[in-house]
Amino acid sequence: MMVKFVFAILWLVMQPWLVHAQPKGETGVRGEIVGQGGLKFPIAVSPLKNLGTGADAARLSEGIADTIVYDLDLSGWFKVVDRAAYIENPQKSGVTLGSFDFKDWSTIGAEGLVKGGFTIQGDDVAVELRLFDVFQSKERVGKRYVGRVKDYRRIAHKFADEIINQFTGVPGIFNTRIAYVSTSGGRFKEIHVAHLDGSEKFQLTSNRTINLSPSWTSDGKSVLYTSYKDRNSSLYLFELYSGKEVKFAPRNGRYLGGKISPDGQFIAATVETGGNSNIILLDRNGNLIRSLTENAGIEVSPSWSPDGRQLAFVSDRTGSPQVYVLDVASQKARRITYSGNYNTSPEWSPRGDRIAYTGRVGSRFAIFTISVDGGEPRKLTAESADSEDPTWSPDGRFIAFSSNRAGKYHLYLMQANGENQRRLTGSGGDDTKPSWSPRLE
């Protein structure tokens, strides 16, 4: 803890602006911004300046700033200085280095500062955003974005991701979506999709039956889910942009769930025949390649390792559901979890090193992570309520999950170490089974 503490201090104070510390695409992360107690990095996000004459400017000026504030706050790594304390008038002061006074920001305790401006033309908007180091009176990064006015939140999410990149060497995960199951429309379970901040929410299914277990393809373009819309549970692959859908149904039995492989070429599916559930390997068109497990029990919930060579899954072959890891080529399985008598819904971290799962503690359910080599699990949620269905952010630094801690089931977010737990959804129904998309374009 002490080492981590010192490292965080060093990271934040001595060299907080290490730009592009490592090439993108590497899985390792150079630094964590450890957000504990007073260690959160104080940052101010000014409302944007209207650089043009377009109407509807107030919505964008505050809307983009609000979205960045929401994201930075959600990360748990920043303390965003309250807007009420801001001294300068954002519509009168400049947005580039030298055109405003850093003292206006250091005075109110901000060490980082986000400023920007926008120009509306019809339905389009050009947005420029900059991150400044208040301590050193320097600009650290500037970005210009062009898009539809109605998509302004995406621009804000992208810049929030860039801010995280400036601090950690790995972009943030705010330009992503979550697919989940909701009963908000009534008694049916339908698949919904929304950004983390709840924006751009839409209903992917509306067949008035039961739709379950959404998961994304690694290109973020399609969602695989289980549905009873044709009476028997089957798998459906829905392409978001075209609305095209492909159905997969086994020759014998039923599909209970499935996941597309990281390279998009295979589907690991759970098939039930004669009361027994097993995991099978399909090609992208749903043709059987081979069985991966062959047991007279329950074998469910496959989750691919990032390299696509292994699968985490659940088996009750010892009498209680436990998490196993299976080598796809050799089909050899090894047991990972040994604590507790109910460990289900494994999700392999995009970093590859840990597996998140749901475990029963007493009469409650909690989220755990465990090394892919086994060992001591780490419990991340309290058992004062039930928490289930973990899903990793694409950078492996966050976990979203569902919990009934506020009565009904809602979606929550936390850092991968369990800190900074925040509620994401508040629909009138139960929101469960989140699946986090890859980063979007």
Binding site: S213, Y228, L256, P321, S345
Partner: protein, 191 residues
């Protein structure tokens, strides 16, 4: 009509599969036969039948999915539900006695075909519960077969935790949801 045909087809397919597998009794849980006498999780007292609406024999109950679609509360037919322990699919003594009564009804109504639905309580993981529900439906089916009911008359489906009959978060409610339900399949109308 198409849906009905599909249901029958599904039953036929299920029978086909079971014929191939020889209907081995499911026993992957340790010692299911003694589970009721020495259970890790003692069987709870079964909730009062008053919780379930009194049955009129003439009522045509539909599948739980149909009833969900139509927004109707679940209607029981002449065949009684069978209940299970948490994360269990072995048959307790009371479940076996209920199944004997259900078998008697099936013997008296030799034309009736039934679909056995496996259900779970809301706790735990949806996909695991789909598999667990399938085990429960199969356990009920296997026992009916040992009691002399032709396997061709019995098909199974699992709804996991997705269609609970009781929505409160307490053990009495969860107990009602961990069930195998028996739905009489309407005979195919002559066309």
């Amino acid at each position: 009509m198409a849906a009905m045909y599909k249901m029958v087809w599904c039953g036929v397919m299920t029978i086909f599969i079971f014929a191939g597998l020889g209907c081995a009794p499911s026993a992957s849980k340790p010692d299911p036969s003694v589970a009721s006498s020495a259970p890790a999780k003692p069987p709870e007292k079964r909730p009062g039948e008053g919780q379930r609406s009194a049955t009129k024999e003439s009522t045509q109950e539909g599948s739980s999915l149909d009833q969900l679609r139509e927004g109707k509360p679940p209607v029981s037919g002449p065949l009684k539900d069978v209940f299970f322990g948490f994360d269990r699919y072995d048959l307790e003594a009371e479940a076996r006695s209920t199944l004997k009564a259900n078998a008697d009804w099936l013997k008296k109504n030799p034309a009736a075909r039934i679909e056995i639905e496996g259900h779970c309580d809301e706790r735990g993981t949806n996909e695991y519960n789909l598999a667990l529900g399938a085990k429960r439906a199969q356990a009920a089916k296997d026992y009916l077969v040992t009691l002399g009911i032709a396997t061709e008359r019995l098909s199974t489906i699992s709804y996991g935790e997705e269609i609970p009959v009781c929505k409160e978060q307490n053990e009495s409610c969860w107990r009602q949801n961990r069930r195998a339900r028996f739905v009489i399949i309407p005979s195919r109308p002559a066309s």
